[in-house]
Amino acid sequence: MKKKSKIKNKGSNKNRKLLFVLIIGFIGVFGLIAVKKINEQLNLPCANTISCIKDLSGEYENDVKAVFLGREIDVPQNLISPQSSLEKAVLGKTTEMKHIYVDLEAQALMAYEGRKKVMEFPVSTGKWGRTPVGTFKIWIKLVSTRMEGGSGNDYYNLPNVPYTMFYYNDDVAKSRGFSIHGAYWHNNFGYTMSHGCINMRPVDAKTLFEWAEPVSGGHTTYAGEENPGTLVTVYGNPL
């Protein structure tokens, strides 16, 4: 009898040890996944991995060079009209709610006043980085800014990016620096070409910048309760 109970005890000890190892294993695996997820949330990449949103002065830089696709390029002059930086520009005065829609499949941006489409432009969205979908709100408008990111052949450093409107929502924080802006370094609109932002022809970006809210005043304009930002809805999948 004693021998039998000893054998039984040995068996249950083995089972306990196995159960303990399994529990520890599960905790370890789930713990690692949880830590990875939290880390991802805390370190989500910016649209422009190096510059993010460092400089919010909105000021134009003189005598500078740009780098795109690893090559040095000239920065065009006269991209920014003096009116945009100094005067309050309000294009399209309306009582209707303004809303910007970006169709990733069509690579097109539509501007609405209420239910009426008032503008449509070709755009270039994320190719090297994903353009997040969802509904966002413009929180700051910069007449000019610098964007830097990528690496190797894909490195870029672009001063005087014209007519930038940063947007955010609960899932995509302001600090990640997603925006709609003019792009002077390519002319391949209608096809994906960005690191996650929404690129527009500078001439179209200026028109949209002056139409969208907050109403511009100076080099930098923050949205607020009295001057709220226009909603931006991004949808679809790029082809």
């Binding site: 795109f68 696709l69 090559r71 390029i73 000239d74 065009p76 006269n78 991209l79 070709p122 190719k127 792009a183 002077y184 370094w185 390519h186 002319n187 391949n188 609109f189 209608g190 096809y191 070409m193 022809r201 500078p202 001439v203 200026k206």
Partner: protein, 208 residues
């Protein structure tokens, strides 16, 4: 038969009258036919349209550079048997115009792309379809030539590279000197290329 002079005279007069009636009838009939013929001719003249030389049709399309400072204008003048294309580049601010290319376009169709201008406005391309093949002709906006050539024919240069892929579309400019080309291979989507201006180098891309 003894006919009196009076009877002979009567017969003669009767014949003369009968002949006169017949002649008068014949003349009237002829006149009627003549009038009818004239009326008919008049009707025909109304039906037949006046054939005029067809006036040439003119179509015009314009594309603005991305910074809004230049534009390219394509004028297509279509005559009965051919079309003449005239391309000119304009400075929006000064309104100065430079004609960069004129062609009769025999068996060719030209069109403008929304992405025609290079980002720095130094080059501009126009789409051409000839014999079912698509290409782009690249010009300097200044009107200067590439060596001895007025333009660079992208398809002609690309085909000489013998990549094994067929050029199907030129989408626009990835940078100031790089055109983005789409290709296909045996009916399926092929790799994309950069086509460098003015060297004509074709650089295969890993992404679309």
């Amino acid at each position: 038969m003894n006919l009196s002079v009076g009877k002979l005279l009567l017969i003669f007069l009767s014949v003369m009258i009968a002949t006169g009636i017949i002649i008068a009838f014949l003349i009237q009939t002829k006149n009627k036919e003549s009038v009818s013929s004239q009326r008919s001719e008049a009707r025909v003249a109304k039906v037949v349209p006046v054939v005029k030389a067809a006036e040439p049709e003119t179509e015009e399309s314009t594309v603005l550079s991305p910074d809004g400072q230049m534009s390219i204008v394509m004028k297509k003048v279509t005559n009965e048997n051919s079309s003449v294309y005239v391309f000119s580049v304009n400075d929006v601010e000064t309104n100065m115009s430079e004609e960069i290319y004129t062609t009769e376009g025999l068996g060719e169709e030209f069109s403008l792309s929304a992405n025609s201008f290079s980002p720095d406005n130094r080059y501009v391309f126009v789409n051409q379809v000839a014999s079912g093949s698509a290409t782009a002709l690249v010009f300097r906006t200044s009107g200067e030539e590439f060596g001895d050539e007025k333009y660079i024919d992208v398809l002609s240069v690309f085909d000489k590279k013998e990549t094994g892929n067929t050029l199907i579309k030129i989408t626009g400019w990835d940078s100031s000197t790089l055109l983005h080309l789409f290709t296909e291979n045996d009916g399926t989507s092929g790799p994309s290329y950069w086509f460098e201006i003015p060297s004509g180098a074709a650089i295969r891309l890993n992404s679309k």
